[in-house]
Amino acid sequence: MPTPEEQIIVIQKLHKWYGEMHVLRDINLIVHKGERIVICGPSGSGKSTLIRCINRLEEHQRGRILVDGTELTNDSKNIEKIRAEVGMVFQHFNLFPHLTILENLTLGPIWVRKIPKAEAEEMAMYYLEKVHIADQARKYPGQLSGGQQQRVAIARSLCMKPNIMLFDEPTSALDPEMVKEVLDVMINLAQEGMTMIVVSHEMGFAKSVAHRVLFMDEGQILESNTPVEFFENPQHERLRLFISQILH
């Protein structure tokens, strides 16, 4: 296990409410550099909300979140700094439909990183090669299959050279036969040592790449364990029920 100096995300006593509803309750989580964490749990358990707090798509009300030493506050400088380090892939891809695949990838590098267009395109092509989709660079997102779109979304995030990647149910909106092509890309990424937090119910993926699997229910982390222990020797009654249900 990595040494404590390499803690990259520190979450302490995190609480979040939507109006009256208490959606995150006392979350404590430390993620080390290069660590890969899979979070699962029933819908409405707060797993998406948790990772969306890490890059400030959602605001937390109590507790602290530190990403690579920078604390997330209302200070827009800090938010900017953290977002530059954290990439995110969404359930519904969220590609920009009016731009070509290549333009989707170069938008961030050109306008945020101020990289010259030619250089940004070269980099974009490199990442498109990596997700095996370089031949589609001139097409529009609407012309691609779901699996291809999600791979483009991953490449788009990678173009910003993040240190951490968040995945919010990246395969839930895909046809079954396209899940594998996306997971393969994610496994490759894991093998290169990317720090990843993945909200997913893909047990095969969790078993093959995760260091830790977390189980969330009603806004709390109920269990955190290695994948083998997690699936074969669940401690919590609620988790046992959950696992028996997703196995069907």
């Binding site: 890059n55 900017e80 530059a84 969404f90 009016h98 995030s157």
Partner: protein, 368 residues
């Protein structure tokens, strides 16, 4: 077996035509005009009405009509008196603009039409086009106003007719659109002051008819100015039109903004794009594309609404036409004169809607 094969071969070789009843003109008539007894009845009725109305109209407009006579000759003729248009053409088009200088508004309009046609092609949408428009508008202003380069100075009170209508419309619409977009964005702003200001502005302007805004600009507004200061009447009407149209554009654009999924914003946030870049590069291109049809409706009606400036005594195309009709010689030929005006308006509006449909088609190529 052998025979069967031969038969199949023959059948594929000679093309089998569908029966005559569903093909050709007969088929078309059957399918479109007489598909049921009710439709058949309607067809007969409409043909009867057309037969009753079209030939007389044709006779009135073309056969017994006079094209280049004076008013007295017209009174004895049975048909249309197009002379009211042809004899007063220059006044209707140019109003009180000095007769020997009328080539200047004519050239201005030619520049405008040339620019519009050049802009039709999306490949020309580059920086150069912006400069071309700026130079063109400046040139048109200089041509109309004069006073430099040896051109005789023409007071704006003498401007009128079609150039005035086009001026109010083109400047009005090009200024109102960006203003409307800003208002729409302001209405969605997180800053309460800006949001409230935009809502108040939009609701206030939309709750008031254009006529009252024009009256305010021409009658009320000058009361607030210090003595001796006066702002050009056309400019005041122009500002009123811009403010009015912008409020409507703002609401249409807001509808487009709401049609963009939230995920698009989240994606730009994660990439770290600034608000300005998010709007310019991601949100507005999509939102404005959705609202092309309703925006064009607003632009068309704004174009026609410029004719309301008659009530503050500006001589736009409609007003010059009315003036011609108050001349005793041409009194009573309003049908012909207004048909002509309607045609001019129709041509302009048709160009706009045609252009918008073309734009929509071109932008839609992106979606498979």
């Amino acid at each position: 077996m052998e025979l069967e094969k031969k038969h199949i071969q023959q059948a594929t070789q000679e093309e089998i035509r569908p029966p005559v009843t569903i093909m050709g003109p007969m088929g078309w008539i059957r399918a479109n005009l007489f598909s049921s007894w009710f439709n058949g009845l309607l067809t007969v009725l409409i043909i009867f009405l057309l037969w009753k109305t079209l030939p007389p109209f044709f006779k009135w407009a073309f056969v017994e009509s006079l094209w280049r006579s004076d008013g007295t000759a017209c009174r004895d003729a049975g048909g249309a008196c197009w002379s009211v248009v042809s004899q007063n053409f220059r006044f209707m088009i140019f109003g009180f603009y000095p007769h020997d200088q009328q080539w200047r508004p004519l050239l201005s309009m030619a520049i405008l039409v040339a620019l519009l046609f050049y802009s039709r092609n999306r490949n020309h949408w580059k920086k150069l086009l912006v400069y071309a428009w700026l130079t063109g508008l400046l040139l048109m202003g200089v041509l109309m106003k004069g006073g430099i380069l040896g051109l005789v100075d023409v007071e704006s009170t003498q401007w009128g007719g079609l150039p005035l209508t086009l001026l109010l419309a083109v400047f009005g619409l090009t200024a109102a659109y960006p203003l409307g977009v800003l208002l729409a964005l302001g209405r969605q702003s997180r800053l309460p002051a800006i949001r409230t200001l935009c809502i108040v502005y939009i609701e206030l302007i939309r709750g008031v008819p254009l006529i009252s805004l024009l009256f305010m600009s021409s009658v009320v507004f000058p009361l607030f100015l210090p003595e001796g200061v006066s702002i050009n009447k056309i400019l005041r009407a122009q500002v009123a039109i811009i403010l009015f149209t912008a409020a409507y554009i703002a609401e249409v654009v807001r509808g487009g903004l709401q049609g963009i999924p939230k995920g698009q914003l989240e994606a730009t946030e994660t990439l770290g794009l600034s608000y300005y870049h998010t709007m310019r590069l991601v949100i507005l291109p999509q939102a404005l594309k959705i609202v092309i049809p309703p925006s064009v409706s607003i632009l068309i009606s704004a174009f026609k609404d410029t004719s309301l400036v008659v009530i503050i005594a500006l001589f736009d195309l409609l007003k010059t036409t009315q003036s011609v009709l108050s001349d005793p010689q041409w009194m009573g030929f309003s049908t012909e004169a207004y048909i002509f005006v309607a045609l001019v308006y129709f041509l302009c509006c048709f160009f706009m809607s045609n252009y918008s449909r073309r734009l929509e088609r071109e932008l839609n190529v992106e979606r498979a």
